[in-house]
Point group: C2
Chain length 475, copies 2
């Protein structure tokens, strides 16, 4: 017994020690991550492609606070409202972290009485979801939104949103993709002709929304079992939601004996036809699929909806870590701004949201696989010295370079070894070294070393800035 | 009486109506604001100057989550901890919004065992302070931080931080400024020789910190009345904190019979002398003032501290709205990373934080005063038509332009009036109009109109992209 007690006491002591060491947990909150310099370099590349496209289409940019009054977000997200992060009541207003950028945009429009704007907004949003971080699903993540608000002729802005998704996914070279398109009015019309009661439209729509993740059988049993839909209605829905195609499918459905009798469906199909005509002019119908199974989770959509998914290359072995999935989505929400306007004045809107985290996961994996070395700084030159006691001279020279707009670094040591200085350039990819030495100082020159070739040239001090500019102009 | 009752009823009805209309308050949370396209354009200018300087000095960039575990922030901010925003406990971890970027940076270093990095981080931070928004004080605001972490020879990184502040404030042309510099060790040494008990160092330091806002008499009475300092000690402090100057003041204090006997003060003064030598090599001592009244509120500083303030031009009438104040601050915090490391391993750090909101307020006011028209998009050309039924042709042409990388817009109307299209260019500053018409289509040309001069030239369709590029290359 004494032996056992001693063992237990020892175990307890060990545990106590461990607890003592870890006074606190050193981590970021669940579902969040830091971005180090390498990740940031990749992220900046993706942002740059996205922002370029948004600007190419003439968008302005806005920004809104990370939190909103809690009531601003209430009643906008349906079943997903439970995922909203609330702030603690510390006296004053009740606040929540934004769940997307669309609701704050609608609040911004109503508050400022703006009836006409094309804007983008790139910012983090927050969802208390179950994170799947290896697949790029986080609780804090960026959305890159482009929206067109205003009363315009039908489907012209909608077509432009799809053009933008097409441009961005092509630019980023993420592999093959398809943009699925549908319309809430077609869905609602379909539900009506299938015999779904009006009161069940939204909840049945949520079930259909799951079709990209679970097979039809499961969705059907949810509709019939949990949601009390008749098996006949479910089966009729089942037939429609298998359909996907292009203009010819739209034409066929416009002739469909049931759908063609439904006002909403007819409107939706008519606009879908127009949309496909515009997309043909843009030359992008090859990647667009009119897909009756696309439903989109959010409550506020009123017309066209769309979602871009990456397709897995057949002959390519893709690891589980980066699974294929949705990278962009959006649609038309003509009623949202009116929910904020005291007089209910509506501002029609259509927009798209690019999900950067999943794109980032793919780019990051690809970069790792390619062994491409990515630079995390833009430094053009390291100011170095071969001898001791030249700190002052290095400080003087680097100051001159900074003032001339040259990106320059030096080691923060009084007397660094030349080898260490050259090694630093190798490690960080700095292409040039400006070496000051006693002889060079006397001669009024600086020795410029090209790291890649190890070539060294003496450059007159007054020409140094120009010489560095020329030699790094391709960077 | 009946008349009065009717009147009251009418008033009540009106009130009821108003209440009904405003089902919710349409606003952003207290102390926050939206940034519209114009404000964003100004903000981007300021960011661009700041990021340029950070990159010129070879900084990498990182990002961290907007919230941290509550315990990560605990015990870092002294009296200001009450200003931290906590998230509601919705199950799971207890979280707080970041209060600055320095503590998350230290957590990042400890967590990733990084002992050597030069990085910048531009992001929003949150403080439940009393907002004074007209003066650029918000509850949500950007900080632009540049920090150097690592074990280096004394004062070289510290001097670079001051050089960066000098560069940025000069670049932004905010008017005259001064960068006040002091050292926590000099302050502590001064407190010791003035007879402040060790236990009161921090709280007396907080009092000194108020000297930029309230006169000495008030600070003195807080020290003596609230904080129980002897009047003699307070008066001795009062003599020191009036002092400010340059190298000659440092030399004088190094000879000061009391201070020179104090180990901490001597160390601090020795390093301050070294710092001024380096700043002389950088040629920026003209804007630097060694100021014994500078204390800085935050607990974590251990060495050099500094703060940049804008000086009001004497002959310039400045409105109350933009009052003169601190636009950057920072210092050395050698102990903070060790607070996160399980084994207490220290990583010496020094850094600077640029406060963009106050700078932004000044730039915004200046822009309004100057009546300079600021563009909020970069659109190079509007695709227009003079005749009806040319929507398809406009869509085809704009798609060609987008695919060639040209920034192009069109009105989202089937048959817009030419006048409206030209007016849109005037309003938004688009320099060129590409006009498609039936004759032009037949001739294989596009009519390119230069908005500023009203000149019109026919350009062959295959040369259009090149022509637009040339004509907008200076933009």
């Amino acid at each position: 017994i004494a032996k056992e007690v001693a063992k237990l006491l020892e175990m307890k002591a060990q545990l106590g020690e461990d607890e003592g060491k870890h006074k606190f947990v050193l981590k970021t909150p669940k579902g969040t991550r830091d971005y180090g310099p390498k990740q940031m370099a990749i992220r900046e590349r993706a942002f740059s492609a996205i922002i370029s496209s948004f600007k190419r289409h003439g968008a302005e940019v806005i920004d809104t606070p990370v939190f909103e009054l809690k009531e601003t977000l209430t009643g906008k997200y349906g079943e997903d409202s439970k995922l909203i992060y609330d702030l603690k009541d510390q006296g004053g207003e009740l606040l929540s972290l934004r769940y997307d950028l669309t609701v704050p945009f609608a609040r911004y429009l109503a508050m400022n009485k703006i009836t006409n704007i094309k804007r983008y907004h790139i910012a983090k949003v927050y969802r208390r979801d179950n994170p799947a971080m290896t697949r790029g699903r986080y609780r804090e993540f960026y959305q890159c939104d482009f929206d067109i608000a205003g009363q315009f002729d039908p489907m012209i802005p909608d077509a432009e949103c799809l053009k933008i998704v097409h441009e961005i996914l092509s630019d980023l070279q993420l592999g093959d993709f398809v943009i699925k398109v549908n319309d809430r009015r077609i869905l609602d019309g379909m539900f009506a002709v299938c015999g779904v009661p009006d009161s069940k439209f939204r909840t049945i729509c949520s079930s259909v929304d799951k079709l990209d993740k679970v097979p039809w059988e499961e969705v059907r049993s949810e509709m019939v079992g949990e949601k009390g839909l008749s098996p006949e209605a479910a089966d009729r829905i089942g037939e429609y939601v298998q359909l996907h195609g292009g203009l010819e499918l739209i034409e066929r459905l416009l002739q469909d004996p049931q759908l063609s009798q439904n006002k909403l469906a007819k409107e939706g199909l008519g606009d879908m036809k127009l949309l496909f005509e515009y997309l043909t002019l843009f030359g992008i119908t090859g990647k667009i699929s009119f897909d009756l199974s696309l439903a989109r989770g959010l409550d506020y959509y009123t017309g066209v909806i769309f979602e871009a998914v990456l397709l897995q290359q057949e002959n390519e072995h893709v690891e589980e870590a980066v699974s294929v999935g949705s990278v962009a989505g959006g649609g038309r929400y003509d009623g949202l701004v009116g929910m904020f306007d005291p007089k209910g004045r509506k501002v029609p809107c259509v927009g798209v949201s690019i999900g950067i985290e999943r794109i980032f996961s793919i780019l990051e994996q690809r970069l790792e696989a390619s062994e491409e070395k990515i630079r995390t700084t833009e430094t053009q030159v390291l100011v170095a010295s071969a001898q001791k006691k030249l700190l002052e001279e290095r400080l003087k020279l680097i100051s001159e370079l900074w003032d001339a707009g040259i990106k320059a670094e030096m080691l923060y040591k009084k007397n660094p070894k030349l080898l260490n200085q050259l090694q630093y350039c190798e490690d960080t990819g700095i292409p040039l070294v400006a070496i000051v030495g006693e002889q060079e100082l006397k001669d009024g020159v600086v020795k410029l070393r090209i790291v890649a070739t190890r070539e060294e040239v003496n450059v007159r001090r007054e020409s140094l800035v120009e010489e560095i500019r020329i030699r790094t102009s391709q960077c």
